[in-house]
C-alpha cells in the first residue's frame, strides 16, 4: 500500500500546491504551473493536487476538462497555435490551418508524426489587425502566410535544437 501511494505522489505538483498555500481557489494557477513544468497534466499530478487541496479528483477533472488550455496528453516538441476566429478567417486563417494540417500531417488538437509538432486552434490571440495570427512555442506572429508559417516553424525547431 505504501509503495502504491509513493508511486502516485507527484513531487513537483505537491511543491507547487504548497507555494499556493494549498488553496483551492488557486487551482487554475496550480494547474498552469504544473503544466508549464511538466508539459501536460498526468494522472499522478492531478491525484496529488486533489490530495493537497483536499478536493475530490472528480472536481479536479471537472475543472481540467472545462478549460481548453489544460492538456491530458503528452505534448509534442513544438506547439503551433493558429487563430481560427473571425478576424483571422477574414484574411485566410482557414486556408492556413489546412496547409498546416497537411504539412505536418497533424490534426488540429493533435500531435503530428514523431510528436514533433502539435497543432491547436485558438479563438483569438488579440492580433486581429495583423492576421492571420499564430503562436509558435509561445511566440506571437502576425500576417502569417503558409510560406511564413513554414519558415517560422523551421526557425523554432532549429532554435530548440541549438538549445
Amino acid at each position: 500500500m505504501a509503495a502504491l501511494i509513493d508511486k502516485l505522489e507527484h513531487a513537483p505538483a505537491r511543491l507547487i500546491c504548497g507555494r499556493h498555500d494549498n488553496r483551492p481557489d488557486a487551482l487554475l494557477e496550480i494547474l498552469h504551473e504544473v503544466q508549464t513544468a511538466e508539459g501536460w497534466l498526468s494522472d499522478d499530478a492531478l491525484r496529488t493536487i486533489a490530495d493537497a487541496l483536499n478536493i475530490s479528483r472528480a472536481e479536479i477533472h471537472g475543472v481540467v476538462s472545462f478549460y481548453h488550455d489544460y492538456k491530458r496528453r503528452e505534448s509534442a516538441k513544438h506547439c503551433i497555435k493558429l487563430c481560427r476566429a473571425e478576424a483571422c478567417q477574414a484574411v485566410g486563417a482557414e486556408a492556413l490551418a489546412a496547409h498546416a494540417e497537411k504539412k505536418w500531417n497533424a490534426p488540429t488538437s493533435g500531435n503530428g508524426a514523431d510528436n514533433q509538432i502539435e497543432l491547436e486552434a485558438v479563438y483569438c490571440l488579440g492580433n486581429c489587425a495583423l492576421g492571420p495570427s499564430a503562436m509558435i512555442d509561445g511566440e506571437l506572429f502576425g500576417r502569417v502566410t503558409p510560406e511564413r508559417l513554414d519558415a517560422l516553424a523551421e526557425q523554432s525547431i532549429e532554435k530548440a535544437e541549438r538549445g
Binding site: 498552469h32 472545462f66 488550455d69 479563438y123
Partner: protein, 513 residues
C-alpha cells in the same frame, strides 16, 4: 528635448512584436553601437496604427517623427538617412501625432498609450498619471461614486451597464470584505483594446482599480487576464510589483487610510469566462459555469461578497473622470452613450488598428475613412461589429452611428468595440455556421438552449447549405434562434443568434434564398 542621448521609441506591444519589433529594436541598438551613436531606446506601447507596425519614433524638439513599417533590413538605411534627426526616408510619415488616422481621434482612455514607457512610473506621472488617484484619495467614497455617475460612463466590456450605478450598489452593501475584479478576458475576435492598454499604459488600469477600491470599500482586487495574452500578463505582473514597491498598492496608500492590493489570475482558454458570473467562478478555482442572476455580483459576487466586475477600459477610464471632472467626459458622445469608445479595426482592412472616438462616429467613417477599405483590395461585403456575438452588417448599413442605442435599433450591438471587415469572397452561410460552432465549442453547458441549441443550429445550417428542405430548415433555424435568444442564461447563448440571423437577413442569397 534638451541634451542627453537621442530618444528612440520601438513598441513592446504584442502586435508590433508579432511583425518583428523585437528584431528591429535589437538592430537599432546594434547599428547605433557600430556607428558609436549614443541613443536611448524606449519600448513604448503601440500608437494603435497597427498597419505601420513596427512603428519606430524619433524624438525631436518639435515632437516625435514616425517611421514604419520598419523591417529589420531597413535599419541601416534609416541611419544612413539620418533618421535620428528626423531625416527623410521612404518609410517616414512626418510627425506621429499629425498622421491623419491619429490626429482625427479623441484619445482619452488611450491618451498615454504609445506615448510613455508602460513600466516607468516617472513617465506615467509626467503625463497626468496619479492625478485621478490623488483626487480620489482626497475625497469621500460617495463623492467618487457621484463623479462616476455624473460622467455617464458605461461598462466597456459589452453590456454597457452604467458604471456609477454598479459602484453605488456595491458601496451601499455592508460587508467585511468586498472585491474589485477586472475583467481582462478579452476573447472577442476583432478586439485588442484591453491588451493594448495593459501593454501600453499598464498603470492606468491599476490606478482605476485602486480608485474603485476606495469608492466601494474593497481592499482586494483581481485582474482576470486571459492566457492568450502572455505579453500583457508579463507587463501587468511587473506593473503590480512596481506599484507595491512605490507604496501605491498595499496598506494605507499615500497615508490616505485606503488599503488595496491587486492579484493577477490567468485564465485557461475559456471564452465564456468573459461573462462576469463565469469569471467569478473561475477566480474561485472552479469550472467557469454561468450563474443565475440575481443576486448580482455587486451584492453577492466573488466568495459571496459584494464585487465590482468591470472591464479593463472602464476601470482605466475612471482616473480621467476624477482628474478632469465628470462634465469633461460627459461632453463627448451622443444621447445615452457618453464619452469615447476605443474602436478596433480588424480583419481584411487596409489600416487596421485602434481608433478612439466619441460615440456617434459612423461605421462608414471607421471602415472607409480610418480603415481605408480592405487590405486585399477586394470590395467590402460585410462587417461584423461587436465580436463573435455581434451582427453582420452589409455595406448598405454602414451609415449607422456607433453608439449603444443606434446600433440596437439597427439590430446590432457595440459589444467591446470590435469591427471585423470581410471582403466579397466571404460565404455568409459559412460565417453563420461558425457562429453556432463557436457557441458549441465555448458554451459552458449550464443551460440547454445554449448547449444543445448551438449543436442543432450548426446541423440545421449544414442542411441549409446542402440544399436540404431549405425553406423549412430556415424556419427551424429562425425558431431555434428565437428560443436561444429568449431562454439562454447569458449572452453566449442569448446573442449567438445575432450573427446567424443578421447573416440570413442581409445575405439571403448565401442561404439559397
Amino acid at each position: 528635448m534638451v541634451g542627453g542621448p537621442i530618444r528612440i521609441y520601438v513598441p513592446c506591444d504584442a502586435a508590433a512584436i508579432s511583425v518583428g519589433a523585437d528584431d528591429v529594436a535589437a538592430s537599432i541598438r546594434r547599428e547605433a553601437n557600430r556607428r558609436k551613436i549614443d541613443l536611448e531606446l524606449i519600448r513604448n506601447g503601440s500608437r494603435g496604427m497597427l498597419w505601420l507596425e513596427p512603428l519606430v519614433e524619433v524624438e525631436t524638439g518639435d515632437g516625435r517623427i514616425a517611421y514604419g513599417p520598419v523591417a529589420d533590413g531597413d535599419v541601416a538605411s534609416l541611419f544612413d538617412a539620418d533618421f535620428l534627426s528626423g531625416g527623410d526616408h521612404a518609410l517616414a510619415h512626418g510627425m506621429t501625432e499629425q498622421i491623419a488616422y491619429f490626429a482625427r481621434q479623441e484619445r482619452v482612455t488611450f491618451a498615454r498609450c504609445g506615448v510613455i514607457d508602460p513600466l516607468c512610473l516617472a513617465d506615467f506621472e509626467a503625463h497626468g498619471g496619479l492625478l485621478g488617484l490623488r483626487k480620489a484619495l482626497a475625497i469621500s467614497p460617495t463623492e467618487i461614486v457621484d463623479v462616476v455617475v455624473a460622467s455617464g460612463l458605461r461598462g466597456r466590456g459589452g453590456a454597457g451597464f452604467p458604471t456609477g450605478i454598479k459602484w453605488k450598489t456595491a458601496l451601499e452593501q455592508l460587508s467585511d470584505e468586498k472585491y474589485i475584479c477586472c475583467n481582462a478576458d478579452e476573447g472577442d475576435s476583432g478586439t485588442f483594446a484591453d491588451r493594448m492598454l495593459m501593454e501600453g499604459d499598464s498603470f492606468s488600469l491599476l490606478e482605476g482599480m485602486v480608485i474603485a477600491g476606495r469608492a466601494v470599500g474593497a481592499a482586494t482586487g483581481y485582474i482576470y487576464l486571459r492566457s492568450e495574452y502572455p505579453h500583457a500578463i508579463k507587463t501587468m505582473r511587473c506593473a503590480v510589483d512596481i506599484w507595491r514597491e512605490a507604496g501605491l498598492l498595499g496598506d494605507d496608500i499615500e497615508r490616505s487610510g485606503t488599503s488595496f492590493d491587486i492579484h493577477i489570475r490567468v485564465g485557461a482558454g475559456a471564452y465564456i469566462c468573459g461573462e462576469e458570473s463565469s469569471m467569478l467562478e473561475s477566480l474561485e478555482g472552479k469550472r467557469g459555469e454561468v450563474k443565475v442572476k440575481p443576486p448580482i455580483p455587486a451584492i453577492s459576487g466573488l466568495f459571496g461578497k459584494p464585487t465590482i466586475v468591470n472591464n479593463v477600459l472602464t476601470l482605466a477610464t475612471t482616473p480621467f473622470l476624477l482628474a478632469k471632472g465628470a462634465a469633461h467626459y460627459n461632453n463627448f458622445g451622443v444621447g445615452g452613450s457618453r464619452g469615447t469608445q476605443p474602436f478596433q479595426l480588424a480583419g481584411d482592412v487596409a489600416r487596421g488598428g485602434l481608433v478612439e472616438k466619441a460615440f456617434g462616429v459612423t461605421l462608414r467613417e471607421l471602415v472607409e475613412d480610418f480603415g481605408g477599405g480592405t487590405r486585399s483590395g477586394k470590395p467590402i461585403r460585410a462587417v461584423q461589429a461587436g465580436g463573435p456575438l455581434g451582427a453582420y452588417i452589409p455595406t448598405r448599413g454602414f451609415d449607422v452611428e456607433m453608439d449603444y442605442e443606434a446600433l440596437a435599433k439597427a439590430g446590432a450591438m457595440l459589444g467591446h468595440g470590435g469591427v471585423v471587415v470581410f471582403n466579397d469572397t466571404v460565404d455568409m452561410a459559412h460565417q453563420a455556421r461558425f457562429a453556432m460552432e463557436f457557441c458549441e465549442i465555448e458554451s459552458c453547458g449550464k443551460c440547454t438552449p445554449c448547449r444543445i441549441g448551438a449543436v442543432r443550429g450548426k446541423e440545421t445550417i449544414d442542411k441549409i447549405i446542402a440544399g436540404e428542405n431549405r425553406a423549412e430548415n430556415l424556419e427551424v433555424l429562425d425558431n431555434l434562434c428565437d428560443l436561444m435568444t429568449n431562454a439562454s442564461l447569458c449572452a453566449m447563448g442569448g446573442l449567438t443568434p445575432m450573427p446567424v440571423q443578421s447573416a440570413v437577413k442581409h445575405f439571403p442569397e448565401d442561404f439559397g434564398g
